[in-house]
């Protein structure tokens, strides 16, 4: 008996060791597809962009060797750099405020179910089925002073949707609000439906007004949804490209050039400098990481702080 005990213990130990090794292998196997995707589609491209931003890399001749930090200084001294950042921030603030407010407002309007509200939900969501480039082309024709539905009125009153810098900004923002309001409404609806109805009932019994219920119950409990929508909206707006490329091409007077459009211009139009474009994209990536971290901190639950 005294001889058998250590043997069985060691046998048990080796069995548990082999089972934990098997679990570890199984874990690695489960994680491998995701790891491969992250490495192939995120880490390698990120490494390439950083390397490109530190090298002289013309579009046609490829890598010409290390030249850091020339690309960064070149892109910061680009004549459109400051203007594009100011315009992108202005557009981001405008689009985010409008989309979040409208998304929440529409969700509150249609949150109960009835036939009319179902119809409204469908109406608001249908534009989200359209691609952004298709929607931009559609609005390009809608805003046209030649063939658009308001062409006669525009000519009579001398109005233009894309003719002045502010009109171009507001017209493009309108397109984005039209295209994405339904999507944000849907996200808000999911958030609203996640709030237990008992809380609203308790507030009603306690005599809370509609405004008090919204201010003290709905908004605080919607915090995670508001965080998600704000991050999505801010990130999407800072990376705006298609809508301005199709509707305004950066005009009038280079007043609607976004940061991503500047990257495109530097990389493929005129300068054909992939190194400088990569430097700009690294700067934008750093700014996005910083902004998202700040937003996540701002939206964190006060109890978690």
């Amino acid at each position: 008996m005294t001889v058998l005990l250590p043997t069985s213990r060691s046998g048990r130990r080796s069995k548990s060791a082999s089972s934990s090794r098997r679990d570890a292998v199984k874990g690695w196997l489960y994680a491998t597809p995701t790891t491969v995707f992250v490495v192939l589609l995120f880490l390698i491209p990120l490494f390439l962009v950083i390397r490109m931003s530190l090298s002289r890399w013309p579009l046609l001749t490829g890598n010409q060797g290390f030249n850091a930090p020339d690309n960064y200084t070149k892109v910061i001294h680009n004549r459109f750099f400051a203007d594009s950042i100011v315009f992108t921030v202005k557009y981001t603030v405008l689009a985010t405020v409008l989309l979040i407010a409208l998304g929440l407002g529409l969700a509150l309007l249609v949150q109960e179910s009835s036939r009319w509200k179902g119809l409204l939900r469908a109406s608001f969501l249908i534009p989200s089925a359209l691609g952004l480039a298709s929607a931009s082309l559609l609005f390009y024709v809608l805003y046209s002073p030649l063939v658009g539905p308001a062409a006669g009125l525009m000519n009579k009153l001398g109005l233009s949707f894309l003719g002045t810098p502010s009109a171009a900004l507001y017209s493009t923002t309108f397109l984005i609000v039209w295209r994405f309001a339904g999507f944000y409404m849907l996200l808000m609806l999911v958030g609203l439906q996640g709030i237990p109805a008992d809380i609203f009932e308790a507030a009603r019994v306690d005599g809370a007004s509609r405004w008090q219920t919204f201010r003290r119950i709905t908004l605080p409990l919607l915090r995670p949804t508001l965080a998600l929508t704000t991050i999505l909206c801010v990130t999407g707006s800072l990376l705006a490209f298609e809508q301005f490329y199709i509707l305004t091409k950066g005009g009038p007077d280079n007043s609607t050039i976004t940061v991503v459009q500047l990257m495109y211009i530097v990389a493929f139009q005129g300068q054909n400098d992939l190194g400088a474009a990569a430097a700009l994209s690294v700067i934008v990536l750093a700014a996005l990481i910083l902004i998202n971290v700040l937003q996540l901190r701002a939206f964190r639950n006060p109890d978690e702080r």
């Binding site: 534009p127 339904g182 009932e201």
Partner: protein
């Protein structure tokens, strides 16, 4: 004293009134109060649907310089 148990919160007062009794949901005052809501939400729905409807109509409408110049049709 604690609040009484509320049961399900989805119950609405108009739903709980029998059909034979007066229904506050269809009174004249209620319709008058609801009209601005219907106009507002209907207007919003039109704003969201107009671009798509206009595109669909324009694609089959006669227009110079397109493949559909005479009468309505699927020329485009």
């Amino acid at each position: 004293m604690t609040a009484p148990s509320l049961g399900t919160t989805q119950e609405k007062i108009p739903m709980s009134v029998s059909k034979s009794s007066a229904r506050p949901g269809v009174s004249f005052a209620s319709i008058a109060l609801r009209t601005p809501y219907w106009i507002f939400t209907g207007g919003l729905a039109i704003i969201f649907l107009f671009p798509l409807v206009w595109t669909a109509v324009s694609s089959v409408a006669p227009r110079a310089g397109t493949s559909q110049t005479n009468g309505w049709g699927l020329g485009n």
